[in-house]
């Protein structure tokens, strides 16, 4: 795989954080959280890697969403 840019690494790091956060959820619902993260990231797979402003916007939105779903009170999601 080609060398990753800083922004690409940020995206992968956010994805990793999402999957790690899913592990903290109840075992039965863990798959839902993983599927949610997967869907959200794959939805924007077609974004051009040179479109920095779009990627940065999506990163910001993703981080906010992660913070929301990370809360211990959130136990399940509908995918």
């Amino acid at each position: 795989m080609a060398r990753l840019s800083g922004l690409q690494r940020d995206v992968l790091s956010l994805y990793r954080r999402c999957l790690r956060a899913a592990r903290a959820k109840p075992v039965t619902n863990r798959g839902h959280f993983q599927a949610l993260a997967r869907n959200e990231f794959h939805k924007h797979r077609a974004v051009d890697k040179k479109d920095f402003s779009a990627i940065e916007y999506l990163l910001r939105r993703g981080r906010r969403q992660l913070e929301m779903y990370e809360e211990a009170g959130v136990r399940d999601v509908k995918v």
């Binding site: 795989m1 690409q8 690494r9 992968l12 994805y15 999957l19 790690r20 592990r23 997967r38 797979r45």
Partner: protein, 139 residues
């Protein structure tokens, strides 16, 4: 009179001592027998496991477990290309997001945590195997 009484009580005390000590000594002897019985099997069957001993992961075992994991991964469609040298992107057709998922699954399988920097450097089964073998706490 006083001397004889003293002597008699002393003699009685001496005579009483062994009579009392006998029942006390018996359970002690029995318990030591029991203890001997309890100890012998543990010595013979090695009932004590040393958890500090290294698990001794072999290269084949690590490789097999990673292959099984990839076989069950829904994004891997062409399992014929699955071998010890397979590259996630070039051979298995996984993109960078899928690679992250694979590396996370490997983390879970071997109960370790791979830091971002090292995780970004794993792009093939061989690299993953080498990384796991280098981790002392992987099991």
């Amino acid at each position: 009179m006083f001397r004889t009484a003293l002597l008699r009580s002393a003699r009685q005390a001496v005579r009483a001592a062994p009579r009392w000590s006998a029942p006390i000594a018996r359970p002690a002897a029995r318990s030591s027998l029991l203890q001997a019985k309890q100890i012998t099997p543990s010595v013979r069957f090695q009932a004590v496991r040393c958890y500090s001993a290294s698990a001794g992961l072999s290269k084949d075992e690590v490789e097999g477990r990673i292959m099984d994991l990839l076989k069950n991964f829904d994004k891997v469609t062409d399992t014929s290309k699955l071998n010890g040298e397979a590259h996630f992107h070039n051979d298995l057709g996984l993109d960078s997001l899928d690679t992250v998922e694979v590396v996370m699954a490997i983390e879970e399988e071997f109960s370790i945590e791979i830091p971002d920097k090292e995780a970004d450097a794993i792009h093939s089964i061989k690299q993953a195997v080498d990384y796991i073998l280098a981790q002392p706490d992987a099991h």
